[in-house]
C-alpha cells in the first residue's frame, strides 16, 4: 500500500514545490499576508473560514451568519453549498493563524489540482500506449492544469473556492471509466465525484461538469455506445441530484436577494476573443507588450485563458496524431466558445456592427442561456476556462505521449524543457499579489469591549471596504451593520446610506451602531473622515488605513430623514427615507419624455412596484404613500427601464428629477379585506392596507384627496371598479369617484389617490365610503370583517367639508 502511495505522494510534493515557486513570495509571508489582490475576495473568504471555526467553537450554526447585517443576521446558506471552499482551512484555524490556514489551503489545492490531472492523464496514456513511458507526459498534464492562467487569475482574485478543481479530473476519469465498467458502483463513483466538482463553488456544476459530461455523452452517442451513454447520463443526473442537496437552499436564498441575482456581469466576466493567445501583462516578458493590457486590462482575474506555445503546440500535435484526443479538442473548443460569453469581445470591448441601419453586437451561444433561470446566476462565463484547462492538459499529455512513443530520446530532453517553458509562459503574476493580514491592535482590542453592539464600516458601498470590514471582524468579533456572504451586502441601501450620509449619533445608536470604522484608503478625499470628526468627535484610534470612532451617547430620538441618491435628472431617481414611525409621505417629481411619444414611469417602494404614470413631454408626478417605521427606498424609474449601456444615437426615454419626499400625517395600517363577487367564502381578493381621511377638507380646494394603499391577493383588471363615495348627512350620495385602477397582478400593491370634486357640496359633515364592484355587471365586492361579509362598502370615517 505504501508503495502504491509513494508515487502520488512524490508527485504531490513536486507539484507543491512548483506551487510555492509560482506563488512566490507567498511562502515567506504565510502569516502576514493573504494571497490575492486587495480588491479580490481574500478577506471575504478568510472571514468565512474564520466564521466556520468560530461558530462551531461558540455553539452557533455556521450556516447562519448571526454577526452580519445586525441585528437580523444573514442567511449564510450559501456557505453550505460549497464546503471545499473553506475546508480544511477552517479546521486548520484551530491550530494556526487564519492567514496561514488560508494560504496553506491555496497551496495544497494547487498541488492537488496538479496531482488529479496527473492521475487522469496517466490513466488515459496507459490506455492509449500501454507500453510507453507515461511519467513525463502525465506530469506535464498536471503542470498545465495547475498552472493554467485561469487558475492563477482566480488565485489573484482570492477565489479559493474556484481554485478547488481537483475533483474535475477525477470526475472525468470516473465518467470515462464507464465505457468499460458497467457496475452500479462505477456509476455511483462517477456521480459522487461529479457532485464533488461542485463542492468548491456552487456553479461548477454548470461551468465544469455540464460541458464535460455533455461532450463525453455526445461522444458515446456518436460511437453508438448506447450503454456507455446511458451510464454517463445516469451518473451525471445522479451527480446533479446529489449536488442539488447542497444547491436548493442556496438557490432559494440567492434568488430572493437582488444582491445575488441582479448582479449581471456576463459580458464583463467573459473572455476576450484574443484571450487564448494573450499572456498576462504581469508576465516578466509580456509586460512590455501593449496588447495584453488591452485584452486583459480590467479582467485578468476572470479573463485569463492563455493556451501557451508549448502546451498549444503539443495539443495541436495530439489533435493531428492521437485520435482519442479529438473529443478533448471538441471539449476545449466548446469551453472557449462558452467562455466567450454572450457577446463577442475584442480588446475587452463588445464588437458592434450596423446592418440595414440596425446596430447590434455579435451574439454568441451563451446568450441563449444567459437569461434562463438558474443560468442567470452564472454571471461569469469566463469560468468555463477551467474545463478548457482540463481539456488542454489532457491534449498536452496526448501530444507529449505521442512524442514519447515516436521520439523517445528527443522527448526525454524536450519535455522537461517544454514544461519549464510552460511554467514560464503561464506565470500570470510575478510576484504574486498579496493583501496584508495584519489588523491594527486597537481594532483587535475592540473584542474585549462588552458595550459594542455593532460596528459600521464606511464607505459601505465600496466593495473593498465591505471585504476589509469582514476581515476586521475576524479580529474584533463584533457584529457588523452590513456584511455579506457573497458578492455584495443584501442590507437595505436606504439604511446604510442614511447612516453613512449623516452619521447622526441618534440614528446610529438607534440601529445599534456603537463603533464606526472609516476605511481611509477608500475615503480618497477625506470627506467621510472629516464628517466623522464633526459628528462623532475625535477618533478612538487612527492610522493611515483606519479611523475608529465611538458613537457618542445620546438621548435624542431619531427624526424623519431623507437622502437623495440622485441629484440630477436621471433615468431612475431614488430617495432614501427614514420614518421614525408609520406616516404618510408625499412624493413629488417631474418626469420628461425624450421624444414626443407618451412614456411610462413606475414608482417603487423598496423595489416593489407601487404605481405607474404616463409621461408626455414634462409631467409633474405626485403620489401619497404610507410608510412603516424604518428605512425605505423610494424610486421612480422609466418603464421599461433605461439599459445600463445606451447605444450611440439613442438616449434614455425618460428622465426623472430628484424626488421630493415630504412627511405627512401618521399612518395607520388597517388591513381590511374585500371579497370579489363569486369568490369562495374563505378567500379574499384585495386588502385596503391604509387610508388617509382628512378630518377637514382643505380650505379653498375644490378637490378632496383620499390616499389609499391597496394590496391584491388576486389580479384585478379594468373591469374592477374602485369607488369612493361622499355621503351627505341625509344619507344621499353627494359626490363620488368610481374608476378602474391600473391592471394589477396577484401580490401587487398600489398607491391610489381618490380625487373627488366637492366644489358644489354645501358645508357640513359627510362620511366617506370605499368599495369595489365589477363592470358591467355592477356586482359589488364584499367588505369583510374577520372573514364575514359586512356590506358592499367600508366606512372610512367623517370629513368636514367647508
Amino acid at each position: 500500500m505504501s508503495r502504491r502511495l509513494a508515487l502520488p505522494l512524490g508527485i504531490f510534493f513536486a507539484y507543491l514545490v512548483i506551487a510555492v515557486a509560482v506563488t512566490w513570495p507567498l511562502a515567506t509571508m504565510l502569516d502576514s499576508a493573504l494571497a490575492g489582490f486587495p480588491y479580490g475576495d481574500a478577506y471575504e473568504t478568510a472571514h468565512h473560514m474564520w466564521w466556520f471555526g468560530h461558530a462551531l467553537q461558540t455553539g452557533q450554526s455556521p450556516f447562519f451568519a448571526s454577526n452580519l447585517a445586525y441585528p437580523a443576521g444573514l442567511d449564510g446558506i450559501t456557505l453550505w453549498s460549497n464546503p471545499l471552499h473553506f475546508f480544511p482551512a477552517w479546521l486548520m484555524t484551530y491550530v494556526m493563524p487564519l492567514a496561514v490556514a488560508y494560504n496553506l489551503q491555496l497551496l495544497l489545492t494547487l498541488a492537488l489540482n496538479g496531482l488529479a490531472a496527473w492521475g487522469l492523464a496517466r490513466w488515459l496514456l496507459r490506455r492509449e500506449w500501454p507500453n510507453a513511458p507515461a511519467a513525463l507526459p502525465a506530469f506535464f498534464a498536471g503542470l498545465v492544469f495547475m498552472l493554467f492562467p485561469a487558475m492563477q487569475g482566480h488565485l489573484g482574485a482570492g477565489h479559493a473556492g474556484l481554485m478547488v478543481q481537483w475533483p474535475l479530473p477525477l470526475a472525468a476519469w470516473a465518467l470515462l471509466r464507464l465505457d468499460g465498467h458497467r457496475r452500479v458502483r462505477d456509476v455511483l463513483l462517477a456521480a459522487g465525484l461529479g457532485a464533488l466538482v461542485n463542492a468548491g463553488h456552487p456553479l461548477q456544476l454548470l461551468y465544469a461538469l455540464a460541458p464535460l459530461a455533455g461532450v463525453l455523452l455526445l461522444a458515446a452517442l456518436a460511437r453508438r455506445a448506447w450503454g456507455t451513454a446511458g451510464r454517463i447520463g445516469a451518473a451525471s443526473a445522479l451527480a446533479v441530484a446529489l449536488a442539488v442537496v447542497f444547491l436548493i437552499p442556496t438557490f432559494s436564498a440567492t434568488f430572493g436577494s437582488a444582491a445575488y441575482a441582479d448582479e449581471g456581469g456576463s459580458v464583463r466576466y467573459s473572455i476576450d476573443l484574443l484571450a487564448p493567445v494573450t499572456p498576462s501583462f504581469f508576465h516578466p516578458v509580456a509586460s512590455a507588450w501593449e496588447y495584453p493590457r488591452r485584452v486583459l486590462g480590467v479582467n485578468i482575474d476572470e479573463g485569463a485563458a492563455y493556451l501557451g506555445l508549448a502546451a498549444g503546440g503539443l495539443a495541436l500535435l495530439a489533435m493531428l496524431r492521437a485520435r482519442p484526443s479529438r473529443v478533448w479538442a471538441v471539449l476545449a473548443l466548446l469551453a472557449i466558445l462558452l467562455a466567450l460569453g454572450p457577446l463577442l469581445k475584442v480588446f475587452d470591448t463588445p464588437v458592434s456592427f450596423t446592418i440595414d441601419g440596425y446596430r447590434s453586437y455579435v451574439t454568441l451561444p451563451w446568450a441563449l442561456a444567459a437569461d434562463l433561470p438558474g443560468f442567470s446566476l452564472a454571471r461569469a462565463p469566463g469560468r468555463f476556462t477551467f474545463v478548457l484547462a482540463l481539456a488542454l492538459s489532457v491534449l498536452t499529455s496526448y501530444g507529449a505521449g505521442w512524442l514519447s512513443v515516436h521520439a523517445r530520446r528527443v522527448s526525454m530532453v524536450a519535455l522537461p524543457a517544454l514544461m519549464l517553458l510552460t511554467a514560464f509562459e503561464y506565470q500570470t503574476f510575478w510576484p504574486l499579489p498579496t493583501t496584508t493580514a495584519m489588523v491594527p491592535q486597537a481594532i483587535a482590542d475592540l473584542r474585549d469591549r462588552q458595550d459594542i453592539r455593532a460596528v459600521f464600516d464606511i464607505p459601505w458601498g465600496n466593495l473593498v471596504t465591505a471585504k476589509a470590514g469582514l476581515f476586521l471582524q475576524t479580529a474584533h468579533e463584533h457584529n457588523l451593520i452590513a456584511g455579506q456572504v457573497t458578492r455584495s451586502t443584501p442590507v437595505s441601501p436606504a439604511r446604510l446610506t442614511l447612516l453613512e450620509t449623516h452619521l447622526s449619533p441618534d440614528l446610529l445608536r438607534d440601529v445599534g451602531v456603537d463603533v464606526v470604522i472609516v476605511h481611509r484608503g477608500q475615503d480618497a478625499d477625506g470627506s467621510l473622515y472629516a464628517r466623522a470628526l464633526d459628528r462623532l468627535g475625535a477618533p478612538a484610534y487612527e492610522d493611515a488605513s483606519y479611523a475608529v470612532f465611538d458613537v457618542p451617547q445620546t438621548s435624542a430620538a431619531p427624526r424623519y430623514d431623507t437622502v437623495q441618491a440622485t441629484t440630477q435628472p436621471a433615468p431612475a431617481a431614488t430617495t432614501y427615507v427614514y420614518a421614525p414611525y408609520p406616516l404618510w409621505v408625499r412624493v413629488r417629481a417631474t418626469a420628461s419624455s425624450a421624444d414626443v411619444s407618451t412614456r411610462a414611469v413606475r414608482l417603487l417602494i423598496d423595489d416593489t412596484p407601487a404605481n405607474s404614470a404616463s409621461v408626455t413631454n414634462e409631467t409633474a408626478l405626485e403620489w401619497f404613500l404610507p410608510l412603516t417605521g424604518g428605512f425605505h427606498t423610494l424610486t421612480v424609474t422609466g418603464e421599461p427601464a433605461c439599459p445600463a449601456r445606451v447605444p450611440a444615437g439613442q438616449t434614455c426615454a425618460v428622465l426623472v428629477s430628484p424626488l421630493e419626499v415630504a412627511p405627512g400625517e401618521d399612518a395607520v395600517f388597517t388591513d381590511l379585506d374585500f371579497r370579489a363577487p363569486g369568490q369562495a367564502n374563505t378567500d379574499y381578493a384585495l386588502t385596503l392596507r391604509a387610508a388617509f381621511v382628512p378630518l377637514l377638507s382643505p380650505a379653498g380646494n375644490t378637490t378632496l384627496r383620499v390616499p389609499l394603499w391597496w394590496s391584491f391577493a388576486r389580479a384585478i383588471t379594468q373591469n374592477d371598479i374602485r369607488f369612493v363615495h361622499v355621503i351627505a348627512p341625509d344619507g344621499s350620495l353627494a359626490a363620488q369617484q368610481d374608476t378602474p385602477l391600473a391592471d394589477a397582478a396577484a401580490g401587487a400593491m398600489l398607491a391610489d389617490t381618490a380625487l373627488i370634486d366637492i366644489a358644489d357640496l354645501p358645508p357640513g359633515e359627510y362620511r366617506l365610503r370605499v368599495g369595489w364592484y365589477t363592470y358591467p355587471e355592477i356586482a359589488p365586492y364584499c367588505a369583510l370583517d374577520f372573514g364575514r361579509c359586512e356590506g358592499d362598502f367600508l366606512d372610512l370615517g367623517a370629513v368636514a367639508i367647508r
Partner: protein, 683 residues
Amino acid sequence: MIRKLTFPLLAALAMLAAAVLATWPLAAQLDSHLIGHPFGDTTEYLRHIWALGQALLAGRDPFFQPDLLYPAGLDGAWLWSLPLQSFPQVVLQFVMPLTAAHNLTALGILTLNGLTMACFVRWLLRHEVRFAATGRAVDAAALLAGVSFTIAPSVMGQLGIGHTGVISLYPAVGFLWALLRLIAPRPRTRRALAGEIALTGALFAASLWGSLTLLVYVTAPLAVFALIRAYQARALLRWAAACIVGGLFTLPFVLPALGAAERAGDGFTSEGAVTFSADLLAVVSPSFNNPLYANFTYNRAVLGIDPFEGAAYLGILPMLLGILALFRVKQARLWALMIALVWLFSLGPLLKVLGNLVSVTLDGYPGYVSLPHALLSQLPGLDIARTPARFNLAVSIGMAVVLAYGACVALTWLSRRQTRLVGPATALLLLAIGLDLRWFAAFPMIPADIPLAVTALSDHDERARAVFNVPWDHPLVDKEAMYLQTEHTLPLIGGHIARQTPLNPAKGALLQGTLQADLLHEAGVDVIILHRNWDDDAGALEAALRARFGQPYHEDEALLIFRVPAYSGPAAGFVALSQIPERLTNTGDLYFYAPAPGGALFSADVRALPSPSTLVLSLDGVVLGSFPINGAAQVTLWVPFEAGYHTLTAALEAPCAGAPFDGLACAALELTNITFAPPEAAP
C-alpha cells in the same frame, strides 16, 4: 429511344399542369394580365423586354437605354448578365403580344424547373441509393420531387413579385447534376472528362443567367455541398477545374454588369438584408392565401409584410418524408446538413420571430440576436446579395431531393407489398403536397391594359421631350412609369435598370417640389404623370399640380396627366428646398439648384434633445463639417458648389437607425430657422 423519352415527356406534362394550377388564373388571362403583384417587378421587366426588342428592331445597341434618365440615358449592361430574365420574352414578343410572351415564359420556367429536378432526382436515386428501390418508386419519387420544386413556396413567392429571372433555377439543378456526376469516381477518357468539365462549367455560368445573386444564394451552396462530397483528391481537382471553367464562362456576362454596377454607384446596392430575411418560423408557416391555412394567425405574423421574399414553407409531407429519409438513407443526411446551413443563412443577419426582430439586453448591452449572415454580408462582393431569404431557393432544391429519398423509401416499401397501389399513392401524395404548398389561392395578376390617353401622348404631342412621373421617389411609381413607356414611348426623367432610379434626388425633389416652369423647361419635362395611388394621403401633390397646370390632359382613378405649358422666360435661378425635419433623428436633406458655380451660407439654430449630439453637414455625400451640440447653438457653414443640382445633408453623427430599444428613445437635434442662400439672394 421512345422509352427513354417517356419519363421526361410525362414529367414535363405533369410539371406544366402543376405550373398552370399553381399560377391559376394565369393560363386563362395570358394576354390580358401580367403575372405578379402590383408591388413587384413585372412592369419593370416588361419595359426592359420591350426596350430590348425595340432596340433590336431599330438596330440600336440594346444595352444602352437612351429613353431612361433623360437626357443622359442609362447603361443597361446589367440586363446582359441576366439573359434568362428577359431574352426568351424578347424573342417571343416578335410572334405574340408582349404580355403573353412574358406569361408563357413564366410557365415555361416553372415547367423546366420541375422537369430538371425530376430528371436529376431520378438520376440520383438510380445512381446513389444503396437500397434496392423499385423502378416505379424511383419514377414516382422523381415526379413528386419535380412537382414539389415546381410549386415550392420560395419559388412561388418570387414569382409573385414577378422575379422570373431569380426563379430560373433549372440551370442550377443541371449544374448540380453535372458536378455530382463529375466528382463521382468512375472510369472515363480524358476527352470525356474534359467534356464533362466544360459542360459543368457551362451550367455553372448558366445557373447565374437568371440573376447574378444566385451565385450566392444557390450556385455557391450547391457547389460547397458537392465539395464536401468530393472527399477524394481527384474529385477535388475535378471540382476545382469545373468551378474555374465555370468562372471563366461567367466572366463575359458578369464583367459588363459589374462595370455598370460600378458606374451606377448606389443605384444597384441598397440595404434590406434584415427586411428581406426569413423569419425563424417561415419554414413552418404556410401561406395565409392558402384556403387551408387562411384562418391561422401565426402565419400572418410571420409572412404578413412579406409573403413573397419571406416565403420558405417546407410543407408537412415533404418534412415527414424528409425525416423518413434521414433515418433510412445515409446520403440524405448530408443533404439535410446542407439544408440546415443554408436555412441558417436565409435567416439573415438578425433573428426575426413572428415578423419582429428579437431584441435582447445582455449585461446592460441592448442589441439583437446576430446570425452568421451578419459576417457573410460584410464580405466584399457579397453585399450585393441583399435578400438572404433567397437562400430558401437552395433549401427548396435540397428539400426536393430529401423528399424524393423519403418518397422512394416509402413507395418501395409499398410496391413490394401492393404494386398496384403505387400509382394511386403517388397521385394522393401529389394532391396532398399540392394542396399543402399552394401559395396563392388566386395568383396575383396585374391588368395589362394601359389607358389610350397614355398611348396617344406620343401621337398628339409631337414636341414632348420627356415625361416626369410623380411622386418620383416612389419605387412603384418608377416601375409603373416604365411600363407606361411601352405605350407612349417617350423618354423618362426617371427610370431605372434595377432596384431604384439613379436620378439625382435633388433634381427629382426640386422638379416635383417646386413645379417651377423654368426648372421643368430646363430639364426637358413636357408631360407630368401623377400616379394617384402613390400620391400623399392629403393629395397635396395633386392639388399643387392642378393649381399649377389647371385641367389635366387625362384623368382616371389611377393617373392624372398634365401637359407642361411652353416656357420662354429667363433661365432658372438659385432654388433651394429644405426637407430637413425640425426634429432630426437621422438625416434630412436640403436640395438646391445653382445656375452657376458659387457658394451659399447655411445657417440654423440647433438644440440637442436631450443629450449632446454632433450635427454633420455634407454636400452630395462629402462631409463639409461636424458641429458638436451640447445644449443649443447656432450653426453656420459656407457651402461652395458647382453649377447644377445638389443635396446638402444634415445628419446626426450617430444616427438613430431602426426602432429604439426598450427604455430608449432616439437622440435628436432640433433645427429651426434654417436659411440657405447665396450672398446676393440673402434677405
